[in-house]
Symmetry: D2
Subunit: 341 residues, 4 copies
């Protein structure tokens, strides 16, 4: 039974696994101070056009989010995020556990805007309230939408004008940067944010997120913050090796393009059958809205997550594709849906 | 220029200050282990009809809230509160600084209901999310409204059914319990909540909140939590002496009744001039909505806080009365408003 | 039965209480933004010779320690303190609860020295360890000893050379600055530390510590840190009024001198009876070592704390005097000891 | 140049890597809820003789330590550890960052004893101090020593008698359990501790620690604590696959035996050359003490860490062997040392 449950159902892309195998018995020093991490970091700096950026490799997304956000903020400072943001809903209070409030802003498309942030700043004025200091975005967002360059530039401008830092969660950055409608590049992200990461876990790696810190203020002593949260991997080279393999020759983007193509194929097929979607997603997560009865029968033939039900007969499900999703699985899903519907 | 800015503009009621003066040179042991705290605690147990309750005296409201909430929760557990709740907006992230998420629920009247809490529980289901565990209420609320016995009993029932703890912030409890429409008593509160406090700072004391812990699970080792947050006063007796003076012969309630009477007088007078209010408050905080221009002129003749402006010519202000508010100040305000309006 | 248990057994010095009574019914704004706090702060700046220092008033010592230390440190930075330091042993892990390690250094006299700090720095070198960043001293120390100007200057020099901040806990600063052998002044402390406080609770106030922040880096946004820990008193003026009364005309120092004189009288009397002391204290805490049997009999006639027993027949007790200790109590103690011994 | 720097210089044992490769393209659900983790957990329960134990797989040691210790303790509770303990010195204050004090006890051999713990309990008696609640051991210890069954049983007995929890860090457990002089088994550990872990990172895995929770009180909701610290790996199966491969047919212990044999060979060879050692280690870390000049010349021919110097001409170095250490590297080291010495 095929699973569209998420984009981390398989292991690593064979190229990545081969790189790990090839280097397996070499001795290197630990904690990311090895030649592989150095090389991967150098490659990322080049790809981002940021020779001075600091690059750190972490194991997972929640870990990266909590380390970065905590490192940015003094204890009374807070992070602004969309209500749907991963840091707000799906990290078991990881940010609050480091002492910081997440100021959640309702947003219909999972994205923040200067206007939404302006509303937050307007009501936080004295020492009796937290001070908004960091803006958290995800691209693609948790509901599959993506930012345009103009949107991100406007947010950057707002942040600069209001002394806010800008952090972009790129757990699904590959999918975002290769989605239809995207006009952002790695150099854009490096220029427009203070920190962002290139997600490996959901796009071809066994695990791993590559964090780019461009703001000098955030770079100082960052490894202390990592270590304190258990976020320096002993065999750190595993991260360097994987990212070097992924980013060499654009494999990372090829994998993401495949995932997007599969999602688009799914979306078009589902739309052709007359169903709507909860969000307008060009990326590798789509959110069709189906009758409850159809969802129940689909669950017999494939795996996916239910996002929510409206209590009136309709259920929104989430379908996620990945670098490993075969065309056949997509075709089968559409055939099954057509047969059930 | 009279100030309706808050209910802690003056010192203590003379009876309270006299009690402090009378006992000033006696020697007692510190940290609340003195005969005055013992006597005040015993009096509170009697007033609450809870011979086994633990009573602790703390200096202020934010301190009490953060100590109690932190003591109740494991690190992944969260507190449910109205969006307007003091712990959500006016404590500089004090709860988050102890590691816990505040799940804020929009509520038009500043009060929680089982239906609102049900909505929170429905979306918090797995280990990827915080677990709602404690319900925070304030009575009177931050916008002056109060709970009825039926409302509180329904919340209690919901909490019991859903394994939630219930904590009531009584910073303005005197005003709530003496407000028109109130049918709650101290024994009701002690029976229906797991913890609540009787606020002294805003009703006749120099400072101090008397915390009543009825749930045995919350009582164990509570003083460790207090000490760790710097919340055990060295000369703890100052708190016992004040509460004993306030609660003897019902002075606490007499003072609150006066504050409410002054607020009601204000509210009726303002309403008679044709103005509306942002909330339906029977307690000692009222929220008239006035034209911006009138607010500006009122600021020349008395002090108060601006709650918010609607951007279209209207401003909501907050007027707070206290045990010390003279009838003359109220009359003068109404005269001034009539003259300006 | 007289108590030498501590120096917060009584209320406030009458001059202080009178000031509170005299101003009791005035209206002021809250949170320390009132004219009394302003005046007291201005007086403290003058006494310290630091026109630019920030002055904050807090309620108690543990609260002050945890707010200051947390405000100084990034999460991976640690505080160096003597093993006997209040923050290490008597605050229920308050510093750790804000996320920071206390690096405890054994010291025979309760004081730190550059050599002791050097040893700490030598073993903390990488991101796998905390970074020592703040030095915590208390004057007088927890065992009654005091720093000389030369000692403090040497520590300051070491701190400056090693990029360490210096914070001095002055819970018993009055006693230290008036002790025999002291050559430190308030201007010295303000010049040599980054932050220190003048303790009121243990020297004439009902409660209160006056914090002097001279390092500009520590001054930014300090009130946010205070509020987040529940450390901004609603009726903040109570602190300003008390400190203004204490510091006007040198009352604060007169009270401390009396306490020291009583302690010295005790110490000399006990020494004359042939007993030794666990520390060489010129301040208001003394630590005689007595046979266990004598201690047990003394406990029938006065109150004090047992510091420790050596398991071989000797017990070290702590006797604390205060501004309120009458000569008669001291004489009676010595008479009792002579009779028992 | 061969490196004796640590036991995580290489990747995974080929058997482990093969298992990852073989399963790479299978789809499983995430977060450790997959059949591989289930099977590995079941295998561990069998090996431990604990059918009801909870098994969790985490990525690294510091992460495991901070999640477990935080999950065990209320905020005022503290952990007792040897001064040399990893949690005390080499985790950048990770435990304190979760809010808890580490009470460090000097110990000449890196091990705790009931007598040492008794000393801690004796001085922690009131709510003004933290409460010792958890004992942290490591086996092998940070200086290579190991616990006997009798020693661990005595500690267990002390813990039970004093209401303490017992947690054993098994980052190098394989080496400990196969060392000469060891008489502990996995079932012993499961019976005598409340929680312990089998370290994979340092004995054949790419990464990973298998945590065994036997105390029912610690098992409740443990995954919430993991998730909140970013310690649930998305592709959790990577951990299950590795541990299943390691523990099938005793590979884990075979690898550890090899590491120990290499260390013993080194130790005997160094001793034969007339040098002393800083600790009596039967496990895979040894600590020879050599003249400074020899250490400097050794650094030209192989890699290792300097533990400390005595300032008088002698340096203690650390040599670590692993499952991957070839006999030739050991022989070469001894030849080099003989030539240099």
């Amino acid at each position: 039974m095929y699973s569209f449950r998420n984009d981390y159902s398989e292991g690593a892309h064979p190229t990545v696994l081969n790189a790990l195998t090839r280097t397996n018995l070499e001795q290197t020093c630990g904690y990311g101070n090895d030649p592989y991490c150095t090389a991967a970091a150098e490659r990322i700096r080049r790809l981002c056009g940021q020779p001075d950026a600091d690059i750190h490799f972490l194991v997972g997304g929640t870990q990266t989010n909590l380390v970065v956000i905590h490192a940015c903020l003094r204890s009374f400072e807070a992070v602004i995020a969309a209500t749907t943001a991963h840091v707000n809903v799906h990290e078991t209070g990881a940010i609050e556990a480091t002492g910081h409030k997440v100021i959640a802003v309702p947003s219909s498309d999972g994205k923040l805007t200067p206007a939404l942030m302006e509303g937050v700043l307007a009501v936080h004025s004295t020492e009796h309230m937290v001070r908004p200091k960091l803006v958290y975005l995800s691209d693609s967002t948790e509901i599959g939408t993506i930012y345009t360059r103009a949107e991100l530039a406007a947010i950057r401008e707002f942040c600069t004008a209001n002394n806010l830092l800008l952090f972009l969660d790129g757990a699904r950055l590959g999918s975002a940067l290769t989605a239809e409608g995207n006009d952002l590049t790695l150099p854009d992200l490096a220029e427009l944010t203070d920190a962002f990461y290139i997600g490996g876990t959901k796009n071809g790696a066994l695990f791993g997120e590559a964090l780019i810190l461009t703001n000098p203020l955030m770079r100082t002593d960052f490894r202390f913050y990592m270590k304190q949260r258990g976020a320096i991997l002993a065999k750190g080279r595993l991260l360097g090796i994987q990212f070097d393999a992924l980013l060499e020759n654009g494999l990372y983007f090829d994998l993401a393009r495949h995932a997007n193509a599969m999602a688009t194929h799914l979306q078009e097929g589902i739309a052709a059958l007359g169903y709507d979607f909860a969000s307008n997603s060009p990326s590798n997560q789509i959110f069709p809205i189906l009758p409850d009865s159809i969802v129940r029968r689909l669950q017999d033939v494939c795996e996916f997550e239910v996002d929510h039900t409206d209590g009136m007969g309709k259920t929104c499900i989430r379908l996620v594709t990945s670098w490993a999703t075969p065309q056949e699985a997509v075709d089968q899903f559409l055939k099954d849906l057509a047969a059930i519907g």
